[in-house]
């Protein structure tokens, strides 16, 4: 048991170190090595943070919540619920980063903070859905009931997202668009910086997920112990 725990600790430590170094490399690539974009200037560098955050938000984070929610409902193991919760929390953070960096980039480039573009609008709805998910967890106390209810939310919410995107996409394509694409041709160094950044963000997601799930596991053990102590004290006081 102790040996296993030690091995797990070493693995996590290695993951943290690799992630940290890669994030440093990505920062250097994005802020120093990648050339300055001709028309947009330095503001384009936000792209190296915006796009990878959007990838985490729209890609793995909530899909993991969905898969683990099903896994929990099938097996009833609280472990899956904790990992789902961790993934949702991190997903909401990356969604928030996406929603903050987007307008910051859009304002100088497009002249507006916000446009009702399908991806943007879907990301905003996504944010609302999973903040709702976290809100539900926050008020639901602890244990199997919370796990069950939030698993249901995690499943329904994930199924909803593609339909949201589809409906917004159909809605917008029927209207004249004020702004068309953000297209700019990418230099090979820009592309390299983006790739490094994508890998770094993905690792960062995994790293945060592992650490957060661990914290949640410790919290659960702790509250179990507290309950046990309370029970014993009560029994001791009663007799």
């Amino acid at each position: 048991m102790d040996l296993e725990r030690k091995r797990l600790g070493v693995a996590t430590g290695t993951l943290v170190i690799i992630t940290f170094s890669l994030v440093l490399v990505a920062l250097t690539a994005a802020l120093v090595l990648a050339p300055r974009e001709l028309q947009m200037g330095d503001i384009q560098r936000l792209f190296y943070f915006h796009m990878p955050s959007a990838w985490i938000a729209l890609g793995p984070a909530f899909t993991v919540v969905f898969a683990l929610s099903i896994a929990y409902l099938v097996t009833g193991k609280l472990k899956y619920d904790r990992w789902a919760a961790a993934s949702a929390e991190i997903g909401v953070i990356f969604t928030t980063v996406t929603l903050l960096t987007g307008p910051l980039w859009a304002k100088p480039v497009w002249g507006v903070y916000w446009t009702w573009e399908p991806r943007l609008t879907t990301t905003l709805v996504l944010w609302f859905i999973y903040v709702g998910y976290l809100l539900l967890r926050a008020i639901a106390g602890e244990g199997p009931r919370r796990a069950r209810l939030s698993a249901v939310y995690g499943i329904v919410g994930w199924i909803d997202v593609p339909i949201v995107f589809l409906s917004i996409w159909l809605w917008r394509t029927l209207h004249p668009r004020l702004l068309t694409g953000s297209g700019f041709s990418m230099d090979s160094r820009m592309l390299a910086a983006l790739m490094v950044s994508l890998v770094a963000f993905t690792l960062l997601y995994v790293c945060l997920l592992v650490l957060r799930a661990r914290t949640l596991a410790v919290e659960a053990t702790l509250s179990g112990l507290r309950a046990e102590i309370r029970r014993r004290n009560r029994r001791g006081g009663g007799s």
Binding site: V125, I139, G141, R148, L149, V152, G157, S167
Partner: protein, 225 residues
């Protein structure tokens, strides 16, 4: 057949309770009408607002009053252990969900009709044959709202959340429904037929079908205790 008659028994019980108490129905209808009224003050007086803006008002009123109805459906069961009694019935859990769903659907749809009538009067909309289209649209939207509403009302009741929280849970999930419904009704308010709406009513049908199926699958887990 026995399945549906049993589900109808639950729906009937809910509807009777609401009719006898009346406070939920009255507040639903009044809230819906007030939303229509209040939104009107945001519009420029004297200028005929666009059909798009007007149908936004219609669906906002529909959503807000609908949340009250579905919120009540499980909150009221928590009193005096009614929910436990209901769950102890020797019937399938899916049947309890269906019963609640039917009751909520009727409440939401009926209130929707009242809101729609008020809306057409104060905005001087003459729908003509469009009535058929918009009633069908209201049926589809009510099914969608009642489906997710009933499921999440049970979730919210499970954590003793208030109605405001139920709104936060289901409004983002209802975004596709609102877009499809608002789009179709805009065309109908412009005097076009349902055929002009193309895929939008179908999107609603698909949306309803998907979440009906999902809700039936997961409802068991929501009330399991």
């Amino acid at each position: 057949m026995a399945f549906f008659s049993q589900a109808w028994t639950i729906a009937r019980k809910d509807l009777l309770t609401e009719l006898r108490g009346a406070s939920t129905i009255i507040s639903m209808v009044l809230l819906g009408l007030l939303v229509v009224l209040v939104f009107n003050f945001g519009a420029d007086p004297g200028v005929e607002s666009a059909a798009l803006a007007r149908s936004g008002v219609l669906w906002a009123a529909f959503l807000f009053s609908g949340v009250i109805a579905v919120g009540r459906s499980f909150a009221s069961e928590r009193e005096a252990g009614c929910l436990d009694g209901l769950l102890l019935c020797p019937v399938d859990r899916a049947l309890i969900y269906l019963g609640k769903l039917i009751g909520n659907f009727i409440l939401v749809f009926a209130t929707g009709v009242v809101i729609l009538l008020f809306f057409t009067v104060i905005y001087n909309v003459s729908l003509g044959l469009g009535w058929l289209g918009i009633l069908l649209l209201l049926v589809l939207a009510s099914v969608g709202l009642a489906t997710l509403g009933t499921l999440f009302a049970a979730v919210a009741a499970g954590v003793r959340a208030r109605d405001a929280l139920l709104t936060v849970f289901i409004f983002p999930l209802l975004v596709p429904l609102v877009i499809a419904a608002a789009h179709t009704s805009t065309l109908l308010l412009d005097g076009k037929g349902l055929g002009a709406a193309g895929f939008w009513p179908w999107l609603l049908v698909v949306y309803d079908a998907i979440f009906l199926a999902v809700s039936f699958m997961v409802f068991d887990f929501v009330v399991e205790d």
